[in-house]
Symmetry: C2
Subunit: 216 residues, 2 copies
DNA sequence: AGTACAATTGTCCAAATGGACAGTTTTAAT
DNA sequence: ATTAAAACTGTCCATTTGGACAATTGTACT
């Protein structure tokens, strides 16, 4: 069991154990998506992480703390704030949304389920609620700034409040994800295209020729 | 305990017990919203319904069957298909959506939470998934027909596919509900107004003067 | 009153649960 | 090599769980 997983415990990593904690957190997030928050047990987490049951008690004060830390890490991954900040136009944004929603692999699905479980649990757990609310606020904020920067350049209605459109986009995306959970066969792309059309934006073109546009 | 709740056991109701079953179903739906699907126990259901624990085993084959039946009943209530069918214009629809999302009482909130739990559980439970998918399909269908009937009358883009707009509206509504769960302070009304503006529709007017329009 | 059956109730049980903790091994520093 | 702290592990326990079921009560009909 020595260097079994190839992840050598280097002495930079504070005290080791970070690896163990990490494995527990990943396993926990997986199981929240798979079983639902309320059905995750400490034993299942340990087993999934291929670790003994006692490990959980040692590294975390309670199951709930472990789960909260686990889902927050996963949710921060699924909200692509960094990527969004690099976008320059509403056209690019709509293209990204469409791609994100239509080409989903298994990994994306798990993270989406974690997101839904987290939003649901946030209603009961004040700490989680605050963290989630902050994340979603940041998310809308990034969208809002993107829209504001783009306004004037595109033929967007001047009267349209960027913050309102940002909320609309964020909610629409999550709502489509929600419907996709129930019915993966749904052609959600057409809903995104409809909104693009209403906004007077052509996301297709942004995909085929993403490069030769100047910014600023 | 005879005619305690005013609901006299009339001999038309198959065998009575319908009242007991009903109380269990209501309690179950309540607890799904309150605790989350995975944390609901048969004992908690019985206690909430003010009935002994054995009642659950007698009236339902398993906890899961009880929960599924309970949430389906609640979800059918929260999707206002009948109301939607009576609407005549997209303007009225946008007004209804705005009112529904902005003025929410405690009862609405519970039903919304049940809806979210159900959509999440549907991913694991094939029977529930099918029933939920059908309900959501009907929901979009009603919206689609409303949009189709309205097209031409309003200044809606002709190229806009009614089915795409229906999906957009349904997903946006549910997405806003989802965000509202995490942060009830959100001013989701402005997102609805933004969409109304994009659609070229003035929901405010439909509210202030709802009567003197002819239909058909 | 008597009969048949639906409805209800309390009790029981094996299995699973979260967490505690004493004991052991590993690591880093001297 | 010795030591102290950190990391890890298996075991234990009081509770809770879903469901089963025998016993009891209620109801409708003759």
């Amino acid at each position: 069991m020595d260097s079994f997983n190839g992840q050598k415990l280097n002495n930079k990593d504070r005290r080791a154990s970070a690896v163990t904690k990490d494995r527990l957190l990943r396993a926990a997030a997986d199981l929240v998506a798979e079983l639902g928050w309320g059905r995750v047990t400490t034993r299942a987490i340990a087993e999934r992480a291929d670790l003994p049951h006692g490990t959980v008690s040692y590294h975390f004060n309670s199951k709930q703390e472990l789960l909260i830390e686990a889902v927050l890490r996963a949710v921060e991954d699924v909200l692509p704030l960094a990527t969004l900040r690099q976008l320059n136009s509403l056209t690019e944004l709509m293209a990204l949304i469409e791609v994100t929603l239509t080409s989903r692999n298994e990994f994306d699905t798990v993270e989406t389920l974690v997101l839904m479980e987290s939003m649901r649990e946030a209603e009961r757990e004040p700490l989680l609620r605050k963290r989630m609310a902050d994340l979603l606020r940041d998310y809308r904020q990034v969208l809002e700034e993107l829209i504001r920067n783009d306004q004037g350049r595109s033929n967007l209605k001047p009267g349209l409040a960027p913050s309102a459109l940002a909320m609309l986009l964020a909610a629409l995306g999550d709502g489509l994800l929600l419907h996709l959970i129930v019915n993966p066969e749904l052609d959600v792309g057409k809903a995104v295209e409809a909104l693009s059309s209403l906004l007077g934006v052509k996301p297709r073109e942004a995909l085929s020729e993403p490069d030769h546009s100047e910014k600023g």
